[in-house]
Amino acid sequence: MTPPDPWHATTELLAHYAGGRLDPAAAWSVEQHVTACRECRTLVAAPDRDEGMVDTGRLDAIWAEVEATVDAPALGPVERVLLWAGVPDHVARLLAATPALTVPWLAAVAVVLGGTAAIVRLDDIGPLLFLTVAPLVPLAGVALAFGRWSDPAHEVALASPVRSGQLLLVRAAAVTGTSFVLAAVAALLLPGYGWMAAAWVLPALAVTAMLLALSTWWSPAASASAVGSAWIGCVLVVETSASTSFASFGAEGQVLAAALGAVATGVMLSRRDTLDGTA
């Protein structure tokens, strides 16, 4: 039985439907019909939108949001991976804007560490060079991660409701993490040094902690220069004066690094409020 002419909803019926005053069966019929019928959809929208069944202001507000989202720049690969891993979107955006996490930085680190690990095979002093350079990687990364001269989002970060000290810590954790992964991969290239290939881990943590502690007084860049120079100086002095080679990475050195790292972490945590000012 086909209906004599195509059925269409009346304005009144649609108004009842929009107002939630229809019986379920009737409402369902209207819904099925409106989904497929252009004319009746137009009635709900109302051509000039002055007499539409949905408030024009509301529709315009939703549209504004749609436009804003559509216009937003596409997420970069770093941000997408972070979101996929369950990182909240505002943290993901801040991390993705961390200059040190960007591709050129990662590439530079890979080249430096890979090159150092390669030199190791040629030269007796190579392993020492690698162990000395590896802790400097997270150090430089953290300093770069929050500098007004290297961060395109610096002004935004200053104005954001996230405290800049907290931001520094979040970024520091991310940079340290990625640097450690890269350094660990490079360490695998060290031939036959056993646990010695991992001897840079505690010093790296220690210098990073000291950088953060010093940053409560100085700028991250100045702190990084100071800590980095001190580290290189220590290694040079110890290695030239000690009777055995790799003395700075032996048991005493590791204990000292752990102790310094712990003290520095304590200082940094007790003074973390001042990070907001220097960053």
């Binding site: 009346t10 019926l13 439907y17 929009a18 939630g20 379920p24 959809r41 949905v54 559509v70």
Partner: protein, 177 residues
């Protein structure tokens, strides 16, 4: 809205990155989507968010439309699933007691709807269903949702959706026999 673009053409244009076409599609479809979603969710903010999500998704996924069936039905399929996603993120929320509307002054309107459609006894039989059974029928039959999706939308366990669906079917079968 002087454009003569059909919905299908608009979708193809959107797939090619045409923002004007998205605006055309929005003007045509956003109003009824707002109304229909509002009948399933009392939270106006969430409805707005869902409509917004839907059109953002249309913008990004227009190329996945296979060109079969009605654009309106395709849009609704996206919208109801965005709503369910939104509900998942936002529990607990007020769930609409579907079909609990007033029954006066609609008899004429209902006759109008049923004219030419072979409903027979179905309309009155549906009206006699308990509201919670009707809600399940609406989600599973009309909106074409899975048991799990319906369970999120209505805020009841999946087992309850199944048993209510079973009861609704049994009651209808009895009444229509």
């Amino acid at each position: 809205m002087g454009t003569m673009l059909s919905d299908e053409e608009a979708l193809r244009a959107i797939a090619d990155g045409d923002r004007t076409a998205l605006a055309v599609l929005y003007d045509r479809h956003a109003p009824w989507l707002v109304v229909r979603l509002s009948r399933r969710c009392d939270d106006a903010g969430l409805v707005d968010e869902t409509v917004q999500d839907t059109f953002v998704r249309v913008w990004r996924k227009a190329h996945t439309w296979r060109g079969e069936g009605d654009v309106g039905a395709w849009l609704w399929g996206i919208a109801i699933r965005r709503l369910i996603d939104g509900l998942r993120r936002r529990r607990p929320i007020p769930v609409k007691d579907v079909g609990a509307g007033r029954r006066d002054a609609v008899t004429a309107a209902e006759d109008e709807v049923l004219r030419g459609i072979e409903y027979g006894q179905l309309g009155p039989a549906l009206d006699r269903l308990a509201p919670e059974l009707r809600a399940v029928m609406q989600a599973c039959v009309l909106d074409g949702l899975s048991t799990r999706e319906a369970s999120t939308l209505l805020g009841v366990p999946a087992g309850t959706v199944k048993s209510r669906m079973h009861r609704a079917r049994a009651q209808l079968r009895q009444e229509l026999a």
